[in-house]
């Protein structure tokens, strides 16, 4: 194939110049990052970030419309540059997908170039900004004059523009605080992930109760010599219930009785107790080469030591089930007379005066006896804008799917 090779910077610009441009942007970004000795960027907060973003949008659209026939502007808003910037962002994301994004030793290569926090680094910010510019220009030409057949394009590109820009410009207004609360107490201070200094909240949270429900306890066979748990024949997690059976090589176990909450009794037989004091007990029949025998085993708890069945060089043990659900009954109150009672649970956050409250964690050592609940409170004023972008992309997606299906009929 004979192609007359276009020289560098000979009009019309195309991929070569785009690659150069994106590469220069990346290199410049890393250079700034290095010069700023690894510190990331601090964005302004409301209303200044909103003003900056509006100005940026107006300027991009204005430039696109005013110079729609200028070859340089055309190139700036064209697919080749878009592709190269997508590639640049992909490369940075690749770094972020491989290098652990956590604190690195100060002065290390990774810290100096911001590789350990790539998504708030200068090269990333620069690429995203250029990307938004490129996307905005291409959008301006399809927005005006408006045509219905451009709707899919507009929904995708404007949706992505809005979601990305608002997520990034709004990140400085995002507040995420963890509020530790003990049962019977209230707290109106929260902690960020990064610092130990308590931050005051515009409301207080009172914890009435914390409760945790577990899956049934599990039977396991423990080998103390290798410190390993042995997998049973059925390759199953064995949930303890009356009638449960389990088989290991040469060992058969049948659960004869199961008491979810009990305390040790005098003659070795546990007595049923209430939820707050009792621990799970199970009576198992163990059949090995020797004669079958029956023993009580238990998971133990904060005040009760566990009971295991000694099988010579192995132990049959019972461990508490994993958490199934946990919830906090709280009252949230601000100083202005607004209050709400709510149950916080994982996947079921509760809204209060522009904040969202999440059940986050508890004292894991204490398990279901935890007297402490960790509630995360989040304020994100930019969320509606980001979601608007998401819904536009999804609407574009539906059109795209529909057209894809339709057009494919023509192709066949």
């Amino acid at each position: 194939m004979v192609v007359v090779r276009r020289r560098w910077f000979q009009a019309p610009w195309d991929f070569k110049e785009s690659i150069l441009f994106a590469a220069v942007a990346l290199i410049a970004g890393f250079a700034i990052q290095y010069a700023a000795s690894g510190s990331g960027i601090t964005l302004p907060r409301l209303p200044f970030n909103a003003i900056a973003l509006t100005l940026f949008a107006v300027m991009t659209l204005g430039a696109g419309l005013a110079f729609r026939n200028n070859p340089l502007v055309k190139w700036l808003g064209g697919i080749p540059l878009g592709l190269c910037l997508i590639f640049a962002i992909a490369v940075l994301s690749l770094v972020g997908g491989i290098v652990p994004q956590e604190a690195a030793a100060a002065g290390s290569l990774s810290a100096q170039f911001g590789l350990n926090q790539i998504f708030s680094s200068w090269p990333f910010a620069l690429s995203v900004l250029l990307f938004l510019g490129n996307l905005g220009l291409s959008l301006s030409w399809r927005l005006i004059p408006f045509k219905v057949q451009n709707l899919q394009f507009i929904l995708f590109h404007a949706g992505f523009w809005i979601a990305l820009s608002c997520a990034i410009f709004g990140s400085s207004d995002l507040q995420r605080l963890i509020v530790p609360i003990e049962i019977g107490k209230a707290n109106n201070f929260g902690y960020t992930m990064q610092s130990d200094t308590p931050q005051p909240l515009p409301f207080s949270i009172f914890l009435h109760d914390f409760s945790l429900e577990e899956y049934p306890p599990q039977l396991l066979l423990y080998d103390p010599h290798s410190d390993k748990l042995l997998m049973n024949r059925a390759q199953a997690i064995i949930e303890v219930q009356k009638g449960t059976t389990a088989t290991w090589k040469g060992i058969e176990v049948l659960v004869l009785d199961y008491i979810p909450y009990a305390t040790p009794g005098t003659d070795g037989v546990p007595v049923a107790a209430d939820r707050s004091t009792g621990v799970p007990y199970a009576k198992v029949r163990i059949t090995t080469a020797a004669a079958p025998r029956e023993v009580w085993i238990s998971t133990g708890g904060p005040k009760i030591k566990p009971d295991a069945a000694d099988l010579g060089n192995l132990y049959l043990i019972m461990v508490p089930g994993t958490p199934k659900s946990f919830r906090s009954a709280v009252t949230v109150q601000d100083g202005k007379g607004n209050d709400t009672m709510a149950n916080l649970e994982v996947n079921k956050p509760v809204s209060f005066m522009g904040w969202k409250l999440y059940q986050m964690g508890y004292d894991e050592k204490a398990g279901r006896w935890s007297k402490l609940s960790l509630v995360e409170v989040i304020h994100d004023p930019w969320l509606p804008a980001v979601y608007l972008g998401f819904f536009m992309i999804m609407a574009g997606n539906i059109l795209f799917f529909w057209n894809g299906i339709k057009r494919s009929k023509v192709a066949s």
């Binding site: 697919i79 972020g96 997908g97 491989i98 995002l174 390759q235 946990f326 996947n347 799917f401 894809g404």
Partner: protein, 265 residues
């Protein structure tokens, strides 16, 4: 597994094997066409039935472990082969699809899953099923797209005639992209409910974003009328990124504290 996975898998593989043979014979004897189709669809039906029984035995959707997701792939991939055959009259893809499905079942037979009914609280959400299933379908379509593209590359290298191969890989990539986009956004909406923020650059999210970018790049390159030969190479290789995202992430240094690597078992 408590249910007999091995029996179900062997029956399904046998269905696909006989179905494939019948398909080959049907080239000569058209009367065999119907039994061939019945056999091959039967394999997927067996897997679908197994998934249903397994689901009810577990008391939760079997979408938590890698092994569990492979069950779905095995059931779905052959169906894409048929979709392609009925839409675009391309017959060879279904054989690859059935082989791939059998391969997935083979992995599960060699590494039996642990039967575990528990589901951590973060996964107990109405978003769980749509998010994972949309991704599954997306991966299945993109796997088929890559296979087709690879075939196109091969035909091109051998200078063979290839009528609508390129449009098949294109449309499969397009549909796959649609599902990836939904998966990404459903994931973000769910993350907001479960973890408090829609995007935290968790390694899995980062890789999902990367694979989405890969196909975004493809769509724009296609629009820009890049040479078809290059596009087919691109599509064939893009699947590598998806593979990393699907299970490679578990092995990357960045993923040691990810919130959603698949459970290893």
């Amino acid at each position: 597994m408590i249910l007999d996975f091995n029996t179900a898998a062997i029956v399904a593989i046998a269905c696909w094997a006989t179905g494939s043979l019948l398909h080959l014979f049907a080239l000569r004897t058209p009367a065999l066409k119907l039994p061939a189709v019945v056999m091959t669809l039967g394999g997927s039906a067996v897997m679908a039935g197994f998934i249903a029984i397994y689901w009810s035995a577990l008391g939760r959707p079997p979408l938590r472990t890698l092994g569990e997701t492979r069950l779905w792939y095995a059931a779905l991939i052959p169906l894409v082969g048929f979709l392609v055959e009925s839409r675009w009259e391309i017959r060879w893809l279904k054989y690859y699809c059935m082989a791939l499905a059998a391969f997935f079942l083979g992995i599960n037979m060699l590494h039996p899953d642990v039967f575990d009914k528990t589901l951590m609280p973060a996964l107990q959400s109405p978003w769980f099923i749509p998010h994972v299933v949309v991704y599954l379908v997306g991966y299945v379509l993109l796997a088929a797209s890559s296979l087709t593209a690879l075939h196109n590359v091969y035909l091109e290298l051998r200078s063979k005639k290839n009528e609508n191969g390129a449009s098949v890989s294109h449309y499969l990539a397009l549909l796959g992209f649609v599902f990836l986009t939904f998966g990404l956004i459903f994931g973000a909406l769910w993350a907001k409910e479960a973890w408090g923020h829609y995007w935290t650059w968790d390694p899995k999210e980062t890789w999902a974003f990367l694979s989405w970018l890969a196909y975004l790049g493809y769509l724009h390159a296609f629009r820009y009328k890049i040479e078809n030969r290059k596009l087919q190479w691109y599509l064939a290789l893009a699947f590598v990124v998806l593979l990393v995202c699907w299970f490679g992430v578990n092995y990357l240094p960045s993923a040691q504290n990810s919130v959603h690597t698949y459970q290893q078992s």
